[in-house]
């Protein structure tokens, strides 16, 4: 019998700190250099046939001279490289990702499978329309779901992301005004708005005018009415707003806007809170983008791709951009050019081809899975989860506004007064606890904002653990334990990174280190 066998108990705890490793790795966390540092000549990660020597080039002498400088890496090394990189990322599949205004909900894998069906993934945007009838049917079906959920008559599917949708909506507004010979110069935007709102308005030539908020975190209706005038093209309003609150005066805001001859653009980033319970069309909205990558679960992919279809009111629908799908007999046609229009007045084209088909399939798969009943339940659960967090933390953290909130709970840094701990420190300490921090320092209307959006994807048990952690951190901060926070994160692949240094001397690509000069012979 082997009495020297593998020990199975943990043994006595070691009093010493973790050792520095020779490899730079830390157990499962593998250090990984750049591709350009592991690559070398003479290796290739694909096997391609040799070019046919009998072919006479028709390049007209335009061949590149000299190498590109790309590294050669074998397939197993490429796999390992990217798997190691992946393990340095937090992800919704790994834990709570409570980024306010970002709606990090579960991304069902059924959607991925559907988008990869050859009939969707392997079709070209310029195939004859007769060979893509199923794709057009899917776009029509998606349009039906989006217009039904929002009670809006029209939808432009082609915008590539939320900000692109804003561009689409505001251009439609400008086109509609210009069609009436009405030239306007101002767009009103609340202080709490996403940065994309003023950036979009400015990009198409509008002066941005900020609307002040009331003490309860909403648009100040009286101040708004005062700002309105014959030069106001539109209001851009997020609802529920970025403080996580429903704009109680929204119908009055819409009416006042319309009375002044302007249009109501709604930023639909927070549709997740109200789908199935409130329809933007019933609120007087004229245009609203829908982030399929937020509300309808298409994966964020580390920053994109998104998709930002824009639903449009009767007044704006005729100005929707090219292309769009139209029913024709038993099938569908694709209107790609002004010559094919029948009474519509498209403002032009926003993008090549027809939009984010891959995202359309995923979003429709998600919607069909939920159904009308499930979407409503998802909104209710998202709101319930956020209120549960608000109720469970407001005695120790400082809630910025009275509840109930909608799908996200906003706190400010008042509870950290006198502790020396900042919102940033607090967020980094959450990383050590295994959580992605909430949105921080946004919206700008409260000091040191912490915007928590749990989404409907969290179980009660998961929320309870999160709440316990947040309470623990809060107590620790108040107890004066600053090092826990200032040095955080301790347990991440990197300690706090120097963002100022990165911006001061930008290094935006890898360059070969200078070879040491060869010794003279």
């Amino acid at each position: 019998m082997n009495r020297q066998g593998r020990p199975t108990s943990a043994g006595a705890p070691s009093p010493s700190a973790a050792p520095e490793t020779f490899s730079g790795n830390k157990g499962l966390e593998q250090d990984e250099p750049l591709l350009f540092e592991i690559g070398r000549d003479g290796i290739c990660g694909v096997d391609l046939p040799a070019p046919d020597k009998g072919i006479v080039s028709r390049l007209g002498g335009l061949e590149r001279d000299g190498a590109i400088g790309l590294p050669g890496v074998s397939e197993p090394e490429v796999v390992r490289h990217f798997v190691r990189l992946s393990q340095k990322n937090y992800a919704i599949d790994l834990g709570v990702y409570p980024l306010g205004s970002c709606t990090m909900k579960h991304n069902p894998r059924l959607n991925e499978k559907m988008a990869r069906l050859p009939g969707f993934g392997d079709i070209h945007p310029l195939q004859p329309v007769s060979t893509v009838q199923g794709a057009l049917e899917l776009m029509e079906e998606l349009a039906h779901w989006l217009t039904t959920i929002t009670s809006m008559p029209g939808v432009a599917l082609s915008p590539k992301a939320g900000a692109h949708g804003e561009l689409c909506g505001l251009i439609a507004i400008r086109a509609a005004l210009e069609a009436k010979g009405d030239k306007r110069s101002r767009v009103l935007v609340p202080e709490s708005a996403h940065g994309t709102n003023p950036a979009t308005a400015a990009a198409i030539g509008y002066e941005v005018d900020e609307i002040p908020a009331t003490a309860d975190g909403r648009v100040d209706l009286a101040a708004y009415r005062e700002k309105l005038g014959p030069d106001v093209a539109a209001i851009m309003l997020t609802n529920p707003n970025t403080c996580g609150l429903f704009e109680r005066d929204i119908i009055e805001i819409a009416e006042a806007t319309h009375d002044a001859g302007g249009y109501f653009y709604c930023d639909g980033a927070n549709l997740n809170a109200i789908m199935g319970r409130v329809r933007p069309g019933d609120l007087g909205v004229d245009a609203m983008h829908i982030n399929l990558h937020k509300t309808f679960s298409t994966p964020h992919g580390g920053g994109g791709p998104g998709a930002g279809p824009v639903v449009l009111s009767e007044a704006l629908a005729p100005f929707a951009p090219l292309p769009f799908v139209r029913r024709a007999g038993d099938g569908f046609e694709l209107v790609e050019d002004e010559s094919q229009t029948k009474g519509e007045n498209p403002f032009g084209r926003l993008v090549a081809f027809h939009g984010q088909m891959g995202m359309f399939v995923r979003a429709l798969s998600y919607m069909m899975s939920h159904g009308g009943d499930g979407l409503r339940q998802a909104a209710e659960d998202a709101v319930l989860n956020a209120n549960y967090i608000l109720a469970s933390l407001k005695d120790v953290m400082s809630a910025s506004f009275e509840g109930p909130c909608m799908h996200e709970a906003l706190f400010d840094d008042k509870f950290l007064d006198g502790t020396g701990v900042t919102t940033l420190d607090f967020a980094k300490a959450m990383i050590d606890e295994g959580y992605h921090p909430m949105t921080m320092y946004f919206p700008l209307v409260v000091h040191g904002a912490m915007l928590i959006e749990p989404t409907e994807s969290e179980s009660k048990e998961s929320l309870d653990r999160f709440i316990r952690t947040m309470r623990g951190l809060t107590e620790q901060a108040k107890a004066g334990d600053k090092t826990r926070f200032e040095g955080a994160p301790y347990f991440a692949p990197r300690a706090r990174l120097d963002e100022t240094g990165a911006a001061r001397k930008p290094v935006l690509r890898y360059t070969q280190p200078q070879q040491p000069a060869e010794a003279a012979e």
């Binding site: 993008v351 992605h436 911006a503």
Partner: protein, 451 residues
């Protein structure tokens, strides 16, 4: 509902903690008139099998490119994507991560973006590249706006070889952008001959936008155009619709480009009926602060270890708001990752060989079509795409070919319906995915259709 983890008991319990009598109380700020009384008129929730059945039925009504001889390009190209690419981009840590705003737990994304930027800069022959735009067309319009900002001039000259959709996107943005005085000079297409852009450049020109390979497949040396633009203080913007061409052709940077934009779909990404794709955007170091979009930059952490963060964000909307260089926020992150992984697998040897195979495939396809009565190959020099003049209207020919199970190119008239002179032109792309059997089937079908 399988995606919702709360039980009815949880919900009741949580409402108690909140102190609400029911879920309706949480929606009390919604004006009475706007509260939905009944559910929206949509089907109820459905299981995986049911959803799969319904969506698969739609997918089955489409002709997948891989199921037929396929020769369509014109801005989106079918290439073989190694299995590794799609596997890796579906890893949860890449797929379900947000924009890397917390860099300490996003090093996977920020390092991959840094590698992407480096690859794009090397391929285009430029100094810096950003972390992507939505696609080639939006990258193109952003480049024009950037040239207006840099030169403080107001006129852009668009080559007739620019993809008509790209031209349309630039026109939309020019028409509705902040400056009413901006002007576009849109040149007519020249097929099979040289286009005189140099003669159009003057002291008020902000930029010349030229696509290489052009919409009709033609390739050209832009060096003289670049020099002429620079002499007048204008920028040369080069649009690359097919990124694989960079493996074989002289790089835009080597020809004097100031901004290079392109469509990156053809590396690592599926056709997917037009999206999601990824816009490539590269320029000179000195213009970096005028660039739109995200940038990943190298830095160090508190322990001195190398790491990567999103940087120079004072150009961007979330910091600069109405003074941002662009309103772009979400970009094409996961498509960049697919591009980066595919490029990593290819490396120098694979990428240049892939490009050669594409050219070879196109030459063989041209040869297969040249002998057919009623077919003239018009493009003197090309990469993997060329234009033919047909004896019959190209739109009808393409439909007839589809009837015979061949997807044989794009009729120019589909993208230029108001230009009668292109009615008989067919744009044919041919990549490494095409076999000799595909070419034979295409040639035979075309011969029959034209008879």
């Amino acid at each position: 509902m399988r995606y919702l983890p709360l039980t009815p008991a949880d919900r009741a319990n949580m409402l108690d903690v909140i102190g609400a009598g029911g879920i309706d109380e949480l929606f009390k700020d919604v004006p009475q008139a706007a509260r939905l009384k009944s559910p929206v008129d949509l089907p109820n929730h459905a299981g995986e099998l049911e959803v799969e059945r319904r969506l698969s039925a739609m997918a089955a009504k489409n002709v997948a490119a891989g199921s037929v001889p396929f020769f369509i390009g014109a801005g989106a190209y079918r290439h073989h994507v190694p299995a590794t690419v799609d596997h890796l981009i579906q890893r949860s840590e890449f797929l379900t991560a947000y924009t890397p705003y917390q860099p300490e737990i996003s090093q996977g994304t920020t390092q991959a973006l840094f590698e992407f930027q480096t690859q794009v800069a090397l391929m285009t022959g430029m100094e810096v590249a950003n972390a992507s735009m939505y696609d080639g067309s939006t990258a193109c319009s952003e480049a024009v706006l950037m040239a207006f900002r840099i030169t403080k001039r107001k006129k852009a000259i668009l080559s007739g070889g620019l993809h008509p959709h790209y031209r349309a996107v630039v026109e939309t943005m020019e028409r509705f952008d902040a400056d009413a005085d901006n002007e576009l000079v849109v040149c007519p297409p020249v097929i099979g001959g040289a286009e005189d852009l140099i003669g159009k450049i003057d002291d008020t020109t902000a930029c010349v936008v030229v696509q290489n390979p052009g919409f009709f497949g033609d390739i050209q040396d832009l060096s003289a155009l670049g020099r002429a633009a620079h002499e007048k203080g204008a920028l040369l913007i080069v649009v690359v619709p097919e990124a694989v061409s960079l493996g074989l052709l002289k790089s835009p940077g080597a020809m004097g480009a100031d901004i290079v934009v392109g469509e990156g779909q053809s590396i690592g990404n599926a056709l997917s009926f037009g999206g999601p794709y990824l816009g490539l955007f590269a320029t000179r170091q000195k213009y970096v602060r005028q660039m739109p979009g995200r940038l990943s930059g190298e830095t160090v952490d508190a322990n001195g270890k190398r790491g990567y963060v999103l940087t120079l964000s004072t150009r961007e909307q979330h910091i600069r708001r109405e003074k941002a260089t662009s309103n772009i926020c979400t970009n094409s992150g996961l498509c960049c990752l697919a591009f980066t992984i595919h490029m990593a697998l290819l490396g120098e040897e694979g990428f240049t060989r892939l490009a050669k195979l594409n050219h070879e495939s196109a030459v063989k396809t041209a040869e297969a079509l040249e002998g057919i009565p009623g077919v003239d190959v018009l493009t003197p020099s090309f990469f993997n795409e060329f234009t033919v003049r047909l004896a019959n209207p190209a739109g009808e020919v393409v439909e007839a070919l589809a009837g015979k199970g061949v997807l044989g190119g794009v009729p120019a008239s589909r993208l230029m319906p108001d230009n009668d002179s292109v009615a008989d032109l067919l744009i044919v792309a041919s990549t490494e995915t095409n076999t000799d059997a595909d070419r034979a089937a295409f040639a035979a079908a075309l011969r029959e259709v034209l008879q």
